[in-house]
C-alpha cells in the first residue's frame, strides 16, 4: 500500500513541474509583458525598467524560471498588485471560505443525492425514478450562475428568507480564528455567529451543489442498478434475505465505490462552479478573488492561485485513488 502511495506521489512531480512551466510562460505571454502585468496601473517606462532590473527580468529565461520555481516551492508568490498583500496571505484568507462553501455544497449533494439515487434505483421505472432522472438531466443543463440567480431572486430578493450576499452579517460580532466561519462560531462559543454563517451558506451551497447532486444521483442510481443485478444479490434475494439486509451488506457498499470516485472528481468541477457562484452571491472566497484578479489583471495572484489550486486538485485526486485502493485492492495493481 505504501509503495502504491509513494509511486502515485512521484507521478505528481512531472505534473506539477509541467504546470509551473506552463504558468511561468503564461504570465510572459500576457499582453503588456511581465513588468506591466506586475506593476499594474501607473506603469511608466522608467518604473518598468526599474522593476525589470529589480526582479531580474533582464536575466536569461531559465534563470528566471529557476528563481520562480525556488520561490514557488517556498510558497512565495509575491504580492497582490491590487491589495498590496502577499499572495500567500490572500490564500489563507480566501481558501477557507471556498473550502467551507465546497464542503457545504458536497454535503448537500451527498445527503440529498445518495438516498435519492438509491430509492430511484430500487423503484426502477417508477415515478420517483422518472422524476429523479429527469431532474438530474435538467440539473446538468442549468448553468450554475443562472440557478444562483433564480435562488437569489426568489429566496433572498423576493421572499427575504435568506441573506443575499457575503459570509457573515457585519453586525454579528464574531471572531474568526480559523477562517471557517461555521467552525469559528462553534469554537468561540458563539451560536449566533454560527447560525448566521450557516444562513449565508445555504443558497450558494445549493446552487453550487446542484451539479454534483445531479451526477451523484445518477451514478448512485446506475451503480445500485448494476449491483442489484449482480448474481450475488440475486442469490441473496433468492435465499430470502431481508431487503434491508441486502441493502446494507451488499448493495450500498459496492455501489458506493464509483460514487466515491465521482465525489473525488468533483473537486475541479466544484471549483469552476465556485467562481461563478461566489460572483453571484458576493461570497468572499477564492472564486471571487480570482474573478477580481482577472478584472484587475493581478497576475501574481493568478499565477500563485492557479498553481496552488492545481496542486490541491491533484492531491485530492490522489487521495481519492488511495482511498479507492484501500476499499478495492485490485486498483493498486494498475
Amino acid at each position: 500500500m505504501l509503495r502504491f502511495v509513494v509511486r502515485r506521489l512521484f507521478q505528481l512531480v512531472p505534473i506539477l513541474f509541467g504546470l509551473s512551466l506552463l504558468l511561468f510562460f503564461w504570465v510572459r505571454a500576457l499582453p503588456g509583458g511581465t513588468a506591466v502585468a506586475l506593476l499594474g496601473e501607473r506603469a511608466t517606462p522608467e518604473t518598468i525598467a526599474q522593476i525589470e532590473r529589480l526582479y531580474g527580468l533582464d536575466r536569461p529565461i531559465w534563470q528566471q524560471y529557476l528563481s520562480f520555481l525556488g520561490r514557488a516551492v517556498r510558497l512565495d508568490f509575491g504580492n497582490s498588485v491590487r491589495t498590496n498583500r502577499p499572495v500567500v496571505e490572500e490564500m489563507l484568507r480566501t481558501f477557507p471560505a471556498t473550502i467551507e462553501l465546497a464542503l457545504a455544497a458536497l454535503t448537500f449533494a451527498i445527503v440529498v443525492g445518495i438516498p435519492l439515487g438509491y430509492f430511484a434505483a430500487r423503484r426502477y421505472g417508477g415515478w420517483l425514478d422518472s422524476v429523479t432522472v429527469s431532474a438530474s438531466l435538467l440539473g446538468v443543463a442549468v448553468p450554475v450562475f443562472f440557478l444562483a440567480y433564480i435562488l437569489k431572486y426568489v429566496f433572498a430578493v423576493q421572499l427575504g428568507w435568506l441573506p443575499t450576499a457575503g459570509r457573515q452579517d457585519p453586525r454579528v460580532d464574531a471572531e474568526h480564528p480559523t477562517g471557517f466561519y461555521v467552525l469559528d462560531g462553534i469554537v468561540t462559543g458563539n451560536p449566533a455567529a454560527t447560525w448566521d454563517a450557516v444562513e449565508h451558506l445555504i443558497l450558494p451551497a445549493i446552487a453550487l451543489g446542484s451539479i454534483p447532486l445531479a451526477i451523484i444521483v445518477r451514478i448512485t442510481r446506475a451503480s445500485v442498478l448494476d449491483v442489484v443485478n449482480e448474481d450475488y444479490v440475486r442469490t441473496a434475494e433468492a435465499k430470502g434475505l431481508l431487503a434491508r439486509t441486502i441493502t446494507r451488506r451488499h448493495v450500498l457498499r459496492n455501489a458506493l465505490l464509483p460514487v466515491v470516485t465521482v465525489i473525488g472528481l468533483q473537486a475541479g468541477l466544484l471549483f469552476s462552479g465556485a467562481i461563478l457562484t461566489e460572483k453571484v452571491f458576493g461570497f468572499p472566497g477564492v472564486g471571487n478573488f480570482i474573478y477580481e484578479a482577472i478584472s484587475f489583471r493581478d497576475y501574481a495572484v493568478l499565477q500563485g492561485f492557479i498553481l496552488v489550486i492545481a496542486a490541491v486538485y491533484v492531491l485530492v485526486n490522489l487521495a481519492v485513488d488511495v482511498s479507492y485502493g484501500l476499499i478495492d485492492p485490485r486498483v493498486r495493481v494498475r
Binding site: G40, G78, T83, P163, T164, R297
Partner: protein
C-alpha cells in the same frame, strides 16, 4: 510627466448652500445634531465596493481607503460639509505671509491622538518631514500620488523628472503654532491641505508601526510596517477597532475626541464587491447604506422608503478624440461625431435623474463655466453633411470602452458605448469595438495615446477649474494628441492670474476656445448618489466625497 497644477485662488461653490437645502428635502427632518445625539449609539454598517488598501493617507488615492481614512484622521484644514470652501479643522486659523511663502497655522488645543500622544506643532512638522523625506519606492506616484501632485518633489528626488519641492520646511515655535515654509508662493497649497492624504498621524505610532518600511522583495512594493494595518493613530472621531481583511473594517468612537464626539458607537465598512449585491444587502437590512448607487436602483430604492442623497455634480463624462490618429485631426469629423450622438437619449436611457447634458469639460456650478460656448445639438443630417465636407473617405473608427468598471460619470460604460455606436453608424461611420479592463490596460492604452476614440471622465478633487480643464488641456498630452498653443496659453494665464474676476473670465474664454476646437465631446455631469436606510441621519453628501460620519446617528 503629467501636468498637475493647482489653483491659485479658490472661489466657493455656490453649490454648497443649494446642497444643504437639498439634503433637508431628501433626508426628512434633519433635526439638531445635539438632539439627535440623545438617542445616539449603535452600529452603522456602510457597504463599500472594496477593502481599503492601507489606512495611511500618504499612500493611497482610492475612494474606499480615503473614506475610512477621513473618519480616523484629520487634516489641518478641510472643506465645508457639502461644499468646497476651506475651513479649519486641526488648525483653528491660519495666516500667510505677504510674500505667500510662510504659512502660520494656529492649532487646536487639547487634541490627542488615538494612542494617547498629544497633538502639537511638533507632530505636524513630523508628518510633513516624513512625507518630504520619502525615498525609493515611496516616491512612486503610485504610492504617494497626492504629495507628488501637489508638492512636486521630495528632499532627494529619485526621478530627475521631479522638480524642486514646493515644500521648504516646517517649524514649531511653540506647541500651538506650526509654520510651514514654501519655496514659491502658492495659494493652491491651502486647498490641497484639505486632502486626506495630508492627514496628521501620531509620530509615535508612525515610528513604532514602521510606517515607512517598504520592501521590494516581492513582485510589487509591499508595506511591511503595522501602522497602516493595525495601529493607524490619528485624531479623528473614530479609531480602528478591528480589520477583518477583505471583509469588514470596524471603527469605534474615540471618546477623547476634541470636538463634538461621534454619535455612533461603531462604524463598520463592509466590503460587498458586487453592485447589485450592495443594493440587496441594503434592502435585506445587512447594511445601513452604500455609495455609488446604480442608476437603475435609484427609483426603486426611493419608492421602497430608502433615502437617496445626491452629491452636487462635480464630474464630467466625455468621449475623447486622439488627434494624433487620423481622421480625428479633422475638425469636421469631430464635429460630425458631436452632432451624431444623441446625448439626451443616452442620458435618459443610462443615467438616473439629476444627470445633465454637458456642454463643456467642467460642471456648471464651478466658476469659469461659460454659458455661451458652441453647442453641438443632435443633428444626424448635419453630421452627414460635415462628413461629406470633410473629404474623409475611410470612416472606420476604433472606439474604446472599459470593462469591469463603474464610474460616477459612467455607471455602465458598455451601455454608453453601444448607444453611441448605433448613433455613429447611423450617420455613416464604421465602428470597431476596442476594449480592455479599466485598470491598468484601458488607462494605459488611453494615456499612452493608442486609443483613437474613447470613453473617459473625471471627478474633481478641488473646487477649481484648473482641476478640470487645466488637467486636461494645459499642455500637450498623448491621450488628446493635439498641440494648440492658443488654448495652452489661456490656461497658463488663468492659472497664474491672481485677480479673481480676471481669472473667471480667462477660464470662460478657455472653455469657449475648447468647445470651438472640440478636442473631445463632453456629454454628462452626474450627481453620484448614496443610499441610506430610513433612520440614518446627519450624513451630508459632498461634491468631493468628503463625507464625515461624526455627525451621523441612527434610530
Amino acid at each position: 510627466m503629467r501636468h498637475h497644477s493647482l489653483s491659485r485662488r479658490l472661489l466657493a461653490l455656490s453649490a454648497g448652500t443649494v446642497m444643504v437645502a437639498g439634503l433637508a428635502a431628501c433626508g426628512g427632518d434633519d433635526g439638531d445634531e445635539g438632539e439627535a445625539g440623545e438617542g445616539g449609539g449603535g452600529t452603522l454598517v456602510f457597504g463599500g465596493s472594496a477593502d481599503p488598501v492601507i489606512l495611511d493617507g500618504a499612500y493611497v488615492s482610492d475612494g474606499e481607503s480615503l473614506r475610512a481614512i477621513r473618519q480616523i484622521f484629520e487634516t489641518l484644514v478641510t472643506t465645508e460639509e457639502g461644499g468646497t470652501e476651506i475651513e479649519g479643522l486641526l488648525a483653528q486659523d491660519w495666516e500667510a505671509s505677504d510674500d505667500g511663502l510662510e504659512w502660520t497655522f494656529n492649532l487646536q488645543e487639547d487634541v490627542t491622538f488615538h494612542d494617547g500622544e498629544p497633538f502639537d506643532a511638533e507632530a505636524v512638522c513630523f508628518n510633513f518631514d516624513r512625507w518630504y523625506n520619502f525615498e525609493g519606492v515611496l516616491q512612486s506616484p503610485a504610492v504617494s500620488y497626492y504629495w507628488s501632485t501637489v508638492m512636486g518633489g521630495f528632499a532627494q528626488n529619485e526621478d530627475p523628472n521631479l522638480g524642486e519641492s514646493l515644500y521648504a520646511g516646517c517649524e514649531a515655535p511653540d506647541e500651538g503654532t506650526a509654520v510651514i515654509t514654501l519655496t514659491r508662493p502658492s495659494s493652491a497649497f491651502l486647498t490641497a491641505m484639505s486632502l486626506p492624504s495630508f492627514s496628521i498621524a501620531s509620530p509615535a505610532a508612525l515610528e513604532e508601526g514602521g510606517a515607512d518600511e517598504v520592501s521590494g522583495t516581492g513582485d510589487a512594493p509591499s508595506f511591511e510596517g503595522t501602522f497602516g494595518y493595525e495601529n493607524p493613530a490619528g485624531t479623528g472621531p473614530f479609531q480602528l477597532e478591528s480589520w477583518d481583511r477583505g471583509s469588514r473594517l470596524t471603527l469605534s468612537r474615540y471618546d477623547d475626541y476634541w470636538g463634538e464626539p461621534a454619535q455612533l458607537d461603531t462604524l463598520v465598512f463592509s466590503v460587498i464587491a458586487d453592485g447589485p449585491a450592495r443594493r440587496q444587502a441594503l434592502e435585506a437590512g445587512d447594511i445601513d447604506g452604500y455609495d455609488l448607487v446604480d442608476p437603475a436602483d435609484v427609483d426603486a430604492l426611493e419608492e421602497a422608503g430608502f433615502q437617496i442623497l445626491r452629491r452636487p455634480a462635480f464630474n464630467v463624462g466625455y468621449v475623447g478624440f486622439n488627434q494624433a490618429l487620423p481622421p480625428m485631426d479633422n475638425p469636421q469629423i469631430r464635429q460630425a461625431i458631436a452632432h451624431a450622438i444623441n446625448r439626451e437619449n443616452l442620458l435618459q436611457t443610462n443615467y438616473p435623474e439629476g444627470a445633465a447634458v454637458a456642454t463643456q469639460f467642467m460642471p456648471p456650478d464651478l466658476f469659469g463655466y461659460a454659458d455661451d460656448v458652441t453647442e453641438y445639438e443632435y443633428d444626424p443630417e448635419r453630421a452627414q453633411q460635415l462628413i461629406a465636407e470633410s473629404g474623409v473617405t475611410d470612416l472606420t473608427l476604433d472606439f474604446w470602452y472599459p470593462t469591469d468598471v463603474s464610474r460616477p460619470y459612467m455607471p455602465n460604460p458598455q451601455a454608453n458605448w453601444e448607444l453611441m455606436r448605433t448613433d455613429l453608424e447611423a450617420v455613416g461611420f464604421t465602428i470597431t469595438p476596442q476594449t480592455a479592463p479599466w485598470n491598468p490596460q484601458y488607462l494605459d492604452q488611453v494615456d499612452g495615446g493608442n486609443a483613437q476614440m474613447y470613453l473617459l471622465g473625471w471627478t474633481g478633487d478641488f473646487g477649481d477649474p484648473d482641476n478640470f480643464i487645466g488637467t486636461f488641456f494645459q499642455q500637450q498630452q498623448p491621450q488628446w494628441g493635439f498641440d494648440n498653443p492658443e488654448i495652452f496659453d489661456v490656461l497658463n494665464r488663468a492659472e497664474a492670474e491672481t485677480d479673481e474676476e480676471a481669472r473667471v473670465e480667462l477660464y470662460q474664454e478657455a472653455n469657449r476656445l475648447i468647445m470651438d476646437y472640440l478636442p473631445g465631446l463632453p456629454y454628462v455631469h452626474t450627481e453620484p448618489a448614496i443610499a441610506l436606510r430610513e433612520g440614518v441621519e446627519g450624513l451630508v453628501p459632498d461634491p468631493v466625497t468628503n463625507e464625515r460620519f461624526v455627525g451621523v446617528s441612527i434610530d
